[in-house]
Symmetry: C2
Subunit: 503 residues, 2 copies
């Protein structure tokens, strides 16, 4: 009978080895999106699928289950947030989830995911939803099977949401989203009807790529991104990935006619990157060194993108740098620029949406994917349902499906349950930032001086360093003293609307 110490060491070693495999997959994916020669994609797909299978085999092995069982039956594991208790509890979670999934279903989800993504790329290009519908139908069929395997849960959606936002439920998300929808629709309407117009035209014009990249790198270094432990590159779809404890990579794309895309894109991905760089490296590869949930991840990206990057005080510090980089902005005042980067206007595409309307795009997707999963909404009726909600929430009707129901890749790769984490991230971010302001004194004065270390230190201490010790909801309550609520986000958006549009 091995002692508890031996079992715990064996658990950590096995978890770390599984993480070596999964992070190897991350290297292959990063390379795929930034470097891969055109004709090399098929082989890369085979490699990724093999690595996923190897990691799944390890996670479901008898050896790992025995080790976990020995630890669980070895008596009290100490405080709920002790290293031992957290690592055993969270490893058990992952093992149980993995074991409930038949390996055939895992393989089929991976296979159909690749097929569906290829079909989606073509369908989007041709704005041809019917060509995508059969494989989308197939994918939702597999997701229903997956939910059944992982269940029973109160709602089948819960089983899928759990992958991205552990312990969250459709009911819980609905409750907080419900308190958001009507006030947001109302706010967007008031802004549209306001006499005072935005200054959105200032962020379009002549923004040469090299100067954009230099300014983005300057901002990254200023807010604390460590280039000895990370990179910034170019890819068709911006992302942030984590290839190891000291290897966090951000990508972006440059639009020489519009300032916002790259700059705020980089600030967004940098928020993800700062979270990853702030996770405790001594716990790397184990739950104590891993992120809480996609929602908490998104809270960090949204916080740096919107609560810092689109803040007036941030531009007190950065406007001279902007003006040195782009001579065309030299006559612009801090207030003008603040209004320009906070322009609100309903639009068709989620990833280009402003901070306020963005959440309505997410609500729409959350509502539709739940109905698709239960079968209350048929795939063939999806475009109509999409367009009806766009009209109701944003007052717009997509001119074609490419700019409507076909715009996002998520359903094609099987990411049902992913969308709500975007708005959960906004909600968490607002509540965290409100608390940081209360804890740190005059945060705006610091930002105006270009001092970001106090805020980053606060996030490191309260959130990053904690790994998976707490669920997302428990973490929010622990850090802010209050349960999750829509109020801080609504207050933040109302305040900006008042400053920018006088409504």
């Amino acid at each position: 009978m091995p002692t508890r110490e031996k079992s715990y060491a064996a658990l950590l070693a096995e978890l770390r080895e599984i993480s070596l495999l999964s992070y190897t997959g991350q290297v292959l994916s990063w390379d795929e999106q930034t470097q891969l020669p055109r004709k090399a994609a098929d082989f890369r797909g085979d490699q990724l699928s093999l690595l996923a299978r190897l990691a799944h085999e390890r996670l479901t092995s008898d050896r790992l289950s025995d080790t976990l069982g020995a630890l669980e039956s070895s008596g009290s594991l100490g405080a709920e947030d002790s290293d031992l208790a957290v690592n055993v509890r969270q490893a058990r979670r992952s093992v149980n989830r993995a074991k409930k999934m038949p390996s055939d279903l895992v393989a089929e989800l991976a296979r159909v995911g690749v097929v569906a993504q290829q079909a989606w790329v073509q369908a989007r290009k041709a704005s041809d939803f019917p060509s995508f519908a059969p494989v989308l139908e197939q994918m939702f069929g597999l997701k229903r099977q997956q939910a059944a395997c992982l269940g029973p849960t109160a709602h089948p959606y819960d089983a899928l949401l759990d992958e991205y936002e552990p312990d969250e439920t459709a009911l819980g998300v609905s409750a907080v989203f419900e308190s958001l929808r009507a006030p947001l629709v109302d706010l967007v309407g008031r802004i549209a009807g306001s006499a005072r117009k935005g200054r959105g035209e200032l962020v379009t014009g002549d923004y040469p790529r090299a100067a954009q990249e230099a300014l983005a790198r300057e901002a990254l270094v200023a807010i604390g991104f460590d280039f000895d432990r990370g990179r910034l590159d170019v890819s068709a779809h911006p992302f942030c990935t984590h290839l190891g404890p000291s290897d966090t990579r951000i990508t972006t794309r440059y639009n020489e006619r519009r300032f916002n895309d790259a700059f705020f894109g980089v600030m967004h991905e940098a928020g993800h990157g700062l979270y990853q760089q702030g996770l405790p490296t001594e716990h790397f590869g184990t739950p104590c060194g891993d992120h809480v949930s996609m929602g908490i991840h998104e809270s960090q990206s949204r916080l740096w993108e919107n609560f810092v990057g689109r803040r007036r005080s941030f531009w007190i510090h950065f406007l001279p740098r902007l003006q040195a980089a782009f001579p065309g902005t030299r006559g612009v005042s801090v207030d003008d620029w603040y209004r320009a980067v906070n322009h609100v206007e309903p639009s068709l595409i989620r990833v280009e949406a402003d901070e306020t309307t963005y959440n309505l795009h997410v609500l729409l997707r959350f509502e539709l994917e739940k109905e698709l999963l239960t079968g209350n909404l048929a795939v063939r009726d999806l475009p109509g349902a999409w367009n009806a909600k766009m009209k109701a929430y944003l007052g717009l009707t997509p001119p074609d499906d490419a700019r409507g129901v076909l715009q996002d890749i998520h359903w094609a790769f099987g990411g049902v349950g992913y969308f709500p984490t975007y708005t959960l991230g906004n909600l968490y971010a607002a509540q965290f930032f409100e608390q940081a302001q209360a804890d740190l004194g005059d945060l705006d004065a610091a930002l105006a001086r270009g001092e970001f270390a106090p805020l980053l230190g606060w996030l490191r201490d309260r959130i990053h360093s904690r790994g998976q010790r707490y669920t997302a909801r428990a973490l929010v309550e622990r850090v802010t003293g209050r349960p999750l609520s829509a109020k801080p986000l609504l207050a933040h958006l109302e305040r900006k609307a008042s400053e920018v549009y006088g409504v």
Copy 2:
């Protein structure tokens, strides 16, 4: 009892899966040398070591041995160069080699290899051989153990050489190298004493990086490198790697004061790349789709670098392009430039050596590593032995060990038996090229018109498409009708010496 077809399908599937793992390691290595953030190296080392171990486990599994055994006992496998016979024979070779290596020794070689490479970097920087000696001693101890495990062989060196040049022996290499040494030393002496001096000064001067890269890319496309299936990037040490059937990546480094380094470096790596791109993709991951040996690989790189890239007719086509890219070369004639890129002069550093003296650098290393392995030469006596041979073969004495015995990384990573493949490559290249000239008619006329497809087609047909069907020596004999000999290489070098130096 499975039928032969079933066993063969199982063999191919298993070999392909092992190759998925090894090629994943190649992606990690390429990324390490071109992209990796400074602090991410340790974790990358752990990943590479895990992948090596997983591949070794698969190669030594009972399942693979059983499959091979079933095929071997299933009766005649057909002609020796049939797909079935080749794949079974070569897989058996790899399995037997892997099984003879205890996994502890595999792990220890990997571990000491990393330590020794780090020690080598420091020792070379400080030109401090004594600080490197203990770990080099340890490495040669492990290589002796490895040779013992893999043996018995006529000479312990044979067991190590076999990893890079299958079926070659120390005796076989010595025989051909012996016929090379005296004529080469004599030729180098005659060139040094010739009244006619080289035009080496023309290749130094002002060679801006962007223009070098553009010209190198133009040359790559011209000779047939497929950028849809490959890349060209920058790294500290140039190399070519193969990440999959359609993913061949070349790296180089640019020296803005010297033309040769990047241009001929790229031509060299392109030769490796063209070989990889020419291997039959339908056999990828199995011996029929793999390269013969490091020597044959090197024959392709040397052929494109020296027999094509340093050929007079090549520059009839490329000189106008060179002059458009570098205005400083506009007064230069084809003959001047031909003399410039074929300047011969004894020098201290192997990788910067000209085509003629290069082989003497290799002979010296081959002779020394054999003696180190048997223990006839002690590690502490190595610098003295090195310097004595440099004096005898090239008339030079290294001013310090950094420019002497510490210049190459090979012994640090355990690559004992690797050096001779460089000169074997030169020998194979000369013999292949002589045959191509005989088979293709007026090859120089084609090269002068920038037509490289006939030569590449010849190499594809005779060499690339054959995979591992023949050993290196058998391939040479099959393609040229004669056994390997030093004569074609000596004739080639004598001809150039006569044209450039009148000797």
